[in-house]
Symmetry: C2
């Protein structure tokens, strides 16, 4: 079976606020949007930001909580890109959880929460190759 | 900036239980594992399952909750693949949240929670092409 994730959908409280974080902070462009969801075409999968009530209805599970026990990561090309992106994300409505620094396992990274408390690790990880289309390969 | 997600990390309470769900249920093979994390090479990104306490330490945010306000999706090649995979995932320790059926927006899908309550939508979506390497493209 394909080792494949087609979509990551984040539940959001305010679609415009979330959209501002992803467009002004990361600089990403939506591929589709309506009044309850925004989709971004990512590296071989979709990122969706969907009103939390609709997401709860869809999975038939009310009462989803934030911050959830997960994190997303975005890798940048060089160590010097980490701290500026974290600053830009904070200016676009994010909250710095952990400033940029070197972790024990190598590389360089920090964490920012999006306006709905979803955690993003912003990382430079020279061991993991990223191709021109953003496809990331495990490396050690 | 690349529209790129390098890693999705799920916080888990029991690494062996989680590993069984992903290997026996989805049939996925780890690319790396130690006593606190398992990584799976996905379609241009990594899926990590990490002890929740370690994930909380890493993002400097204790008290992450489950089920969080998000969902992951795995798309299958045909409508007939949806229900059998949901059954296999349930047998591997998942919990069916919503049985396979046709949603208003087309296609066919159901939801399963993994053993740590993280939601997976199992979907057939003929509008979204998937290439041989599992890269998914938005379509309408």
């Amino acid at each position: 079976m394909q080792q494949q994730i087609s979509v990551i959908t984040l539940g959001v409280a305010d679609l415009a606020r979330s959209r501002r974080f992803y467009t002004a902070g990361f600089g990403w462009a939506p591929v589709f949007e309506n009044d309850e969801i925004v989709f971004y075409q990512m590296n071989g999968l979709m990122l969706g930001t969907w009103l939390q009530s609709a997401l709860e209805d869809d999975q038939r599970r009310p009462g989803l909580t934030r911050p959830g026990a997960f994190a997303l990561a975005h890798n940048v090309p060089s160590q010097g890109d980490v701290a500026p992106l974290i600053e830009t994300l904070a200016a676009a409505g994010g909250k710095v959880l952990r400033p940029a620094e070197a972790p024990p396992h190598g590389g360089f990274r920090g964490y920012v929460a999006d306006p709905d408390d979803h955690a993003w690790e912003i990382a430079w990880n020279p061991a993991w190759p990223i191709d021109d289309q953003g496809h990331v390969t495990f490396g050690v």
